[in-house]
């Protein structure tokens, strides 16, 4: 079996705040193979972005990584030098953020920002000429399906629409992403029809370049049309991992089931039930399964951490209902 591109093992991340320690990420484990598209779904506050930031090593100052190993291309990201990390960020992995307006510096022209990234990427040689950099930048904008790339290079972010800004961000990440692309809710701030276009664009680019993708979203339908493997996160833990189709046909974890039920359906059928309760406080989370307070099937066993149970076909679930 080929070595996975990215492997996260037993990750524990907390945030130090005034009231104490927010134990957010509690033993997250997953892997991403080459050319694999993985989706992470979960609701706000479940830790998806924190996990990704841990991988990209862009956590906030008050974040405390208490444990875990993140292996990327056979190197431990927790331990490599900051120089090596910079090289990786410039030439191998990249991230697209939720809000394209915030991701672009409003006082610099798009061209300046893009050319900066290109200059340090793998796409041009050492000491490229300005002309080389500019033409590469235009190429990237074209790849992101932007019309009139030359004009865009000379524009400021505020002169572009939301969809165009997001495409610029995609172009930016294309410059440096040769292996892994992390997309954090790329369509959330966009209209549905524009999101549709962006996701189709991403799909095309990803297939063409053979990238691995981690797609974070709370829109389950968006993930379904894009990824081959799904991870369901709840309160800082992964509760279920499954190939995409399988998850919808056979959701196992009670949270997954409730979540899928809670989505309104285009076919009608009325408004579903929500999930009662709130996510647990990260200051004093439950010792065992973190969904225990809202789970209709909670047992006394659930006071201890449920291990992953493999039910075959690459489908595993962290729930005592299935053994463990």
């Amino acid at each position: 079996m080929e070595q996975p591109l990215l492997e996260v093992r037993d990750l524990h991340v907390s945030y130090a705040v005034y009231q104490g320690l927010l134990k957010v990420i509690d033993g997250v484990e997953f892997s991403v193979a080459r050319r694999e598209k993985v989706g992470v779904i979960g609701e706000s506050g479940c830790g998806k972005t924190t996990t990704m930031k841990s991988i990209m090593r862009i956590l906030a100052n008050n974040a405390v990584v208490e444990g875990g190993v993140i292996t990327y291309k056979d190197r431990d990201l927790m331990k490599i030098s900051s120089h090596d990390l910079t090289v990786l960020r410039r030439t191998s992995m990249s991230m697209i953020f939720q809000d394209p307006t915030a991701a672009l510096n409003p006082v610099f022209k798009v061209g300046d920002q893009l050319q900066d990234v290109v200059r340090y990427s793998k796409l041009v040689g050492h000491n490229p000429t300005d002309k080389e950099v500019r033409s590469k930048a235009i190429e990237l904008l074209k790849a992101a399906a932007l019309p009139e790339p030359a004009r865009i290079l000379d524009s400021y972010p505020f002169q572009l629409s939301g969809g165009m800004r997001q495409r610029v961000c995609i172009a930016l990440s294309l410059a440096s992403a040769q292996d892994l692309l992390i997309a954090d809710e790329p369509g959330t701030s966009l209209d549905v029809t524009i999101e549709d276009q962006i996701m189709r664009l991403l799909k095309g680019i990803v297939e063409e370049k053979g990238l691995s993708v981690i797609l974070i979203t709370h829109s389950i339908g968006t993930a379904k049309g894009f990824v081959t493997k799904m991870l369901v996160m709840y309160a800082g833990t992964i509760v279920e991992e499954s190939p995409t189709e399988e998850l919808f046909v056979n959701p196992l974890h009670p949270y997954t089931q409730l979540l899928l039920k809670a989505v309104p359906k285009l076919t009608g059928g009325g408004i579903p039930e929500g999930i009662g309760g709130r996510i647990p406080s990260y200051l004093s989370p439950p010792p065992g399964c973190r969904f225990v307070n809202r789970c209709p099937f909670a047992m006394t066993k659930c006071q201890s951490k449920p291990p992953f149970v493999h039910v075959g076909n690459g489908h595993k679930v962290a729930c005592f209902l299935y053994g463990g």
Binding site: S44, D191, V192, I194, D196, Q197, S219, K265, L266, T267
Partner: protein, 339 residues
């Protein structure tokens, strides 16, 4: 499109904003009616003008042109000029609960306001009333002296709903009430809203971009694009037989999770292009730059609204036949708007 008995009647409503970059035609000749006890849905993407319509109903804006009445009373004046008894009847729930509740006021103070303003209770009665409201929205009494920042998104929105209902209104504008909430909380809030509608006989103007949600809450739906209504129909008809290319485009783009929904979707109209700014609105039919079915006439003449079938209206040159619909009053006065 408007029936005599409709509690809210909107007729040829226009709202233009003058900005330094030009005239923004946010709402550009919109007509519809909302019946008693009905949930009327207004769907559209950003720039469609749907929120502006909602804002006009509650008086945040005054129309530039057009007629808008509630229970027969003219409500074209801004909220500052409305008589108190009218203010009581029309309320709104905003999209973002964090900014619709004053961060420096406690929940109690927020909920007391409508009670005091409309004299619904006095003295000790005010406090009791506040607890009554909190019971209705299923919020524990201990929350009364907390600040909005201490509550979760769903709880804040529940407070916003409680506040809107405190004046015992007849019509509530719901402007993307759950768009800022997680799916699991959304369900709870929507169920609450539907329950209240039945209990208190409310009419809702439900504004959202989420078609799957709209499918399950509204009795009739109108879709807006760049300030105009392009299609209006009863919900099941709207979703099973969409006519306008934009409606089809929007429906095609909805991310769904079950195969049944996938089958329901119309033949894929691939979404192309972007919505143009509301300042440089394309001539003719404003959708023509993105329309895969564009014809010669589409960039010259704006199509009239016609009644394709009973209760199903559409504004598109693909459907020129049919009697142009009446837009106000009762019956069907036909006035051809072709050329």
């Amino acid at each position: 499109m408007i029936l005599q008995e409709d509690i809210l009647q909107v007729s040829h409503l226009k709202k233009y904003f003058k900005t330094s970059r030009g005239l923004v035609r946010a709402v550009d000749d919109v007509s519809f009616g909302v019946a008693l006890n009905e949930t009327f849905g207004l769907v559209g993407e950003s720039g469609s003008g749907k929120s502006t319509v909602g804002h006009i109903v509650v008086g945040i804006y005054s129309p530039t042109e057009g007629k808008i009445t509630f229970s027969g009373r003219d409500i074209s004046m801004g909220v500052g000029r409305r008589p108190k008894d009218l203010k009581k009847e029309l309320q709104i729930v905003f999209q973002d609960p964090a900014s619709s509740l004053n961060p420096r006021r406690t929940i109690r103070q927020i909920l007391e306001l409508p009670v005091r303003v409309h004299g619904l209770a006095s003295g000790d009665g005010v406090g009791r009333r506040v607890y009554e409201i909190m019971d209705r929205i299923e919020l524990p009494h201990e929350y009364a002296d907390r600040y909005p920042g201490e509550l979760g998104g769903g709880e804040k929105q529940a407070v916003a709903i409680g506040r809107a209902l405190a004046t015992d209104p007849s019509l509530v504008v719901l402007d993307e009430p759950t768009s800022a909430l997680d799916v699991s909380i959304q369900a709870k809030i929507i169920n609450m809203l539907l329950k209240f509608q039945k209990e208190y006989g409310l009419s809702y103007l439900f504004i959202t971009h989420n078609l799957s949600l709209m499918r399950n809450v509204a009795q009739r739906v109108a879709i807006m694009y760049l300030g105009k209504v392009r299609e209006l129909a009863e919900t099941s008809e709207f979703f099973s037989n969409p006519l306008h290319p934009y409606t089809k485009m929007l429906l095609s783009a909805v991310p769904v999770i079950t195969p049944e929904e996938e089958k329901m979707k119309p033949e894929k109209v691939v979404s192309t292009g972007e919505i143009s700014g509301a300042i440089d609105i394309p001539p003719g039919c404003s959708f023509h730059p993105r329309c895969p079915f564009r014809m010669d006439i589409c960039d010259k003449v704006d199509p009239p609204m016609i009644e394709y079938q009973e209760g199903h209206y559409v504004s598109c040159h693909l459907f020129p036949a049919g009697v142009p619909s009446a837009s106000s009053g009762s019956g069907s006065k036909s006035s051809s708007k072709d050329k």
